[in-house]
């Protein structure tokens, strides 16, 4: 069973065609990257697969479940880190974690092994308000909250955008150790160098997947050639 199956997804927002027929599969335990510029349709894919919006056409399964029929069940099984920081800035680090744990009916202690490597880095700031954290720390807190209920599929929408190069390297090291636990990860990024850390990538542009492949060497040149060929 695949972790994600997207079949011919279409989505429009008024006159803008965000997705023009997108099909891909993510295997269990795979780190799959959606690579492309703003407006490629990456966030729309995330929102459909996490059951936050409906596609106009096409079908999809997340963790084996239908995104329309089984949306309630899917929501308990996925972790989603949206592109925009969406934790509560007025709550402290500890309060945010407790809040998300509570919603899913779990405790930090229950799944401590999974979040420990990330949690340990933010623990010194446990009483600090989330809004007062640096970019890199916010991102670690968001990842911690997305993992608190031990999801089987993790969705990370541009987790490293605007984050400095060192925090990015550290973030990807954390993802590598998460992968070891068997979790499946769909991640998007506009940074070509990060694509190399994925098992497979989909190169996207204007609502279409141009190609699905393991990350090639000199990805930027490859992408440019692909874009040129596709006009």
């Amino acid at each position: 069973m695949n972790a994600i199956e997207a079949n011919n997804l279409f989505k429009s927002y008024r006159s803008v065609q965000a997705l023009k027929g997108v099909t891909f599969q993510v295997g269990k335990g795979e780190v799959f990257g959606l690579i492309g510029p703003d407006g490629a349709g990456k966030t729309t894919i995330f929102r459909i697969l996490t059951t936050l919006i409906l596609p106009d056409k096409g079908s999809a399964r997340t963790d084996g479940l239908d995104i329309i029929k089984d949306y309630k069940e899917i929501r308990t099984r996925v972790g989603y880190m949206p592109g925009r920081f969406s934790l509560y800035p007025d709550l402290s680090v500890g309060e945010n974690i407790d809040f998300f744990a509570n919603i899913f009916g779990v405790t930090l202690e229950e799944n401590y092994d999974l979040v420990a490597p990330i949690f340990r880095q933010i623990e010194p700031f446990r009483t600090r308000r989330a809004g007062k954290l640096s970019g890199g720390m916010k991102q670690k807190l968001a990842l911690c909250c997305a993992l608190i209920h031990k999801p089987s599929v993790l969705f990370l929408d541009e987790p490293t955008t605007g984050v400095d190069a060192l925090s990015r390297v550290e973030f990807w090291e954390m993802l590598a150790s998460l992968k070891e636990t068997g979790i499946s990860i769909l991640v998007s990024t506009p940074y070509m160098d990060e694509a190399a850390r994925c098992d497979r990538i989909a190169l996207m542009c204007e609502g279409l997947i141009l190609e699905i492949c393991p990350p090639p060497a000199r990805l930027e040149d490859y992408f440019i050639e692909l874009m040129t060929r596709n006009g």
């Binding site: 955008t161 060192l166 992408f223 874009m227």
Partner: protein, 239 residues
């Protein structure tokens, strides 16, 4: 004097917190200078002082020949600024955006018309003079934002993460445009998190905890830190 920026011991404190801690450097005319650093290193605070938006607690310096302690208003008139966040008005046309920003910088209608024609010609965009900016593809908006930031012919342009979220073709075209501007004498001061772009700069500085930890050409830095890329230099230095 051929330095467009010259600062000595530039310092900014907020209460007991030192955001920028006695940094000194100069940027010669026509250079592409990369201003890098980790999140929270003090880059934004430093840029605000260089742009005349905030006064240093200590230190001295000049930007475009004006004193950063006393001539902030003059500095603002002689620099250009572009950021990924604030760029153009989507419900104005290409030309209206140039008119607006040119007007703010005190240019006459005639000067604006001539300069707009020159800039649009350069990027082969004259035919889109009357298009609404909101209707243009992202890549074009990005390039236009740069042109608008240079509409008043500033001596130096500050680019604050100018290429976030654009496709690789646009990113390359954008850098070609930057190099052309630099070779015609406009000084470029750029911040970015794309370390491959750091490699396109003549020199880069890397800030950490309010201080400049390294400043040199990318090739010297890579040699010094025994690194194969600027990304590796950055990680080795900041870790």
């Amino acid at each position: 004097m051929d330095n467009v920026i010259e600062v000595r011991n530039l310092t900014k404190r907020f209460g007991s917190f030192t955001a920028v801690d006695a940094i000194s450097f100069e940027v010669p005319k026509g250079e592409i200078f990369g201003f890098l650093g980790a999140n929270g290193a003090g880059k934004t605070t430093a840029i605000r002082m260089l742009c005349g938006l905030s006064f240093p607690t200590e230190g001295s310096g000049t930007v475009a020949g004006f004193d950063i302690m006393t001539q902030g208003e003059q500095i603002k008139r002689h620099i250009g600024y572009m950021s990924q966040r604030f760029s153009l008005y989507g419900d104005l046309t290409v030309f209206e955006n140039m008119q607006l920003f040119g007007g703010i910088y005190g240019m006459s209608e005639k000067q604006i018309a001539a300069r707009a024609a020159e800039l649009l010609e350069k990027v082969q965009f004259s035919g889109h003079r009357n298009d609404l900016v909101g209707s243009l593809p992202l890549g074009w908006k990005q390039k236009l934002a740069f042109l608008v930031a240079t509409v008043h012919n500033p001596e130096i342009v500050f680019l604050d993460e100018p290429t976030g979220g654009v496709d690789p073709i646009t990113r390359r075209q954008f850098w070609t445009m930057i190099r052309e501007a630099a070779s015609s004498g406009t000084t470029i001061f750029v911040t970015t998190h794309y370390m491959d772009e750091a490699g396109y700069c003549n020199r880069v500085s890397i800030m950490m905890d309010g201080r400049i930890k390294a400043l040199d050409t990318p090739s010297v830095l890579m040699k010094e830190y025994k690194a194969e890329s600027m990304n590796e230099v950055f990680v080795k230095l900041c870790r």
